[in-house]
C-alpha cells in the first residue's frame, strides 16, 4: 500500500464500481465513468444555475457563464465565419467538457478523465467525423478539394496531395495525444514531486527541512497545471474550429 501511495501511475488506474458485462464487452461503470458523470453534472449545473436569474446586469457567476459562451462563440466565428455557428453547440460542449474535466482532475484523489488516451481520442474522432460527414454532405466530392491546394505545379501535385492526406489523417491523433499527454505528464510530475515531500518527511528533521523544495515545486506545478488545464481546453476548441472551417470551406 505504501508503494501505491507514491506510485505516480496509481492515479490513472481504472476501478470497476458497478460491473456491467454485455455480450462479452466490459461496459462497467468505473471511476472514469463516475468522473465523466461528475464533469457533465458540474459543468451543466454551473451553466444552468448561474444563468437561472437571467439578469440584465449579470452577477459574477453569470458573467463567467456568459464569458465562456461568448469566448467560444467569438473563437468559432473568427475561425469558421458565420456559417460555422451551426457547430457552436458542439464546440461549446467540447470546450466546457474538456475544461471542467481538466480542472476537476486537479483536485487531490480525483480521477482525470482526459488523462486517458481513449477519451481524448474519442472526442477527437467525434470532431473529425463531424468534419468528414458534414464536408461530404455539403460539398459531395468537392470536399476532396481540401487535399488539392490551389496554385501548386502539376508535377508536385501527387506529393502535395500525399502530404495533405497524411496531415489530415494525423489530425485526430495529434488532437487527442496533445491533450492526453499534457494531462498525463502534468499529473505524473505533480505526483512525483508530492511523493518526494512524503518520502523526505519520513526521514526525520533533516528530511522535513529538505522537503520544502519539492513542496514549493508542487505548489508551482499546481499553478502551472491550472494554466495547462485551461490552455489545453482552449487549444482543443481552437483546433476543432479550424477543422470545422475546412468542412465549410474545403478550397484553400
Amino acid at each position: 500500500m505504501a508503494a501505491d501511495k507514491v506510485d505516480p501511475i496509481h492515479q490513472f488506474h481504472i476501478n470497476k464500481l458497478i460491473p456491467i458485462d454485455i455480450g462479452g464487452y466490459d461496459l462497467s461503470f468505473t471511476n472514469s465513468a463516475l468522473f465523466m458523470v461528475t464533469t457533465v453534472v458540474v459543468a451543466a449545473a454551473f451553466l444552468f444555475l448561474t444563468t437561472s436569474s437571467r439578469s440584465l446586469v449579470p452577477g459574477r457567476l453569470q458573467s463567467v457563464s456568459e464569458m465562456a459562451y461568448e469566448f467560444v462563440g467569438n473563437m468559432l466565428r473568427d475561425a469558421a465565419g458565420t456559417q460555422g455557428m451551426k457547430f457552436f453547440p458542439l464546440v461549446f460542449s467540447l470546450f466546457m467538457f474538456v475544461l471542467v474535466a481538466n480542472l476537476l482532475g486537479l483536485f487531490p484523489y480525483f480521477f482525470t478523465i482526459t488523462s486517458h488516451i481513449i477519451v481524448t481520442f474519442g472526442l477527437a474522432v467525434l470532431v473529425i467525423a463531424t468534419v468528414v460527414i458534414y464536408g461530404f454532405m455539403k460539398h459531395g466530392f468537392g470536399f476532396l478539394k481540401l487535399f488539392v491546394p490551389h496554385g501548386v505545379p502539376v508535377f508536385l501535385l501527387p506529393l502535395v496531395v500525399l502530404i495533405e492526406v497524411i496531415s489530415f489523417v494525423s489530425r485526430p491523433v495529434s488532437l487527442s495525444v496533445r491533450l492526453f499527454a499534457n494531462m498525463l505528464a502534468g499529473h505524473i510530475t505533480l505526483k512525483v514531486f508530492s511523493g518526494f515531500v512524503v518520502s523526505l518527511s519520513a526521514l526525520g528533521a533533516v528530511g522535513v527541512a529538505g522537503s520544502i523544495l519539492p513542496l514549493a515545486m508542487a505548489v508551482a506545478l499546481t499553478a502551472l497545471e491550472l494554466l495547462v488545464a485551461f490552455l489545453q481546453a482552449y487549444v482543443f476548441a481552437v483546433l476543432t474550429c479550424m477543422y470545422l472551417n475546412d468542412a465549410l470551406h474545403p478550397g484553400h
Binding site: 501511475i9 490513472f12 488506474h13 481504472i14 456491467i20 464487452y25 466490459d26 461496459l27 462497467s28 461503470f29 468505473t30 472514469s32 465513468a33 465523466m36 458523470v37 464533469t39 457533465v40 459543468a43 451543466a44 451553466l47 444552468f48 444563468t51 437571467r54 439578469s55 440584465l56 449579470p58 453569470q62 457563464s65 456568459e66 459562451y69 461568448e70 457552436f88 453547440p89 458542439l90 461549446f92 460542449s93 466546457m96 467538457f97 478523465i113 488523462s115 486517458h116 488516451i117 481513449i118 477519451v119 474519442g122 472526442l123 474522432v125 467525434l126 467525423a129 463531424t130 460527414i133 492526453f180 498525463l184
Partner: protein, 199 residues
Amino acid sequence: MFVTSAFAQESAPSADTSHAATEGDTHSGTSVPAEAHGTFPPFDPATFPSQLLWLAITFGLFYLFLKRVVMPRVGGIIDVRNDRITQDLDQAAKLKGEADAAVAAYEQELAEAKTKANAIGQQANDAAKAEAETARKKVEAALDAKLGEAEARISSIKANAMKEVGSIAEDTASAIVEALVGGKTSKAEIAAAVKSVAR
C-alpha cells in the same frame, strides 16, 4: 446528436475488434492481475469499451442539454441585453434630437422677439418724431401768424404816423411862416411846399 450516436456506434466496436479482441485476450490469457500493474493504465485496451460507452452517454447528454437548454438561455440573455442597449442608445439619440430641436426653436423665437421688439421701438420712435414735428410746425405757424399780425400793426401804425407827419409839418410850417413873415399863407401853398420838401 446525429454525429455523436454515429461515432458511438462506429468507434466502440472498431476499438474492440482491433485492440481488445487481440491484445486484451492475450493479456487476460497470460496474467489476469496484470490489469492492475502490468500495462500502463491509459493504454489498457480492456478499459476502452467501457470508457467509450460512458463518454458517449455522458457527452451526448451534455451536448443535448447545452444545445436545448443552456445555449438558448445564455444567447437569449445576451441578445436581450444587446437589444436593450441599442434601444437605450436610440432613445438617448432621440431625446438629444428633441433637446436640440427645442434649443433651435427657442433661439428662433428669441430672434423673432428681438426683431419684433426692434420694430416696435422703431415705430414708437417714428411716431413720437412725427408728433413732435407736427407740434413744432403748429407752434411755428402760430408764431408766424402772430408775427405777421404784429408787423401789419406796426406798419399801419407807421403809416398813420407818417400821415400825421405831413399835417404836423404843415401846421409847424404855417406857424413858422406866420411868425417870420407875419402874413397868412394859404393852406394849399404850405401843403404843396411841405410835400415838395418831403420828397
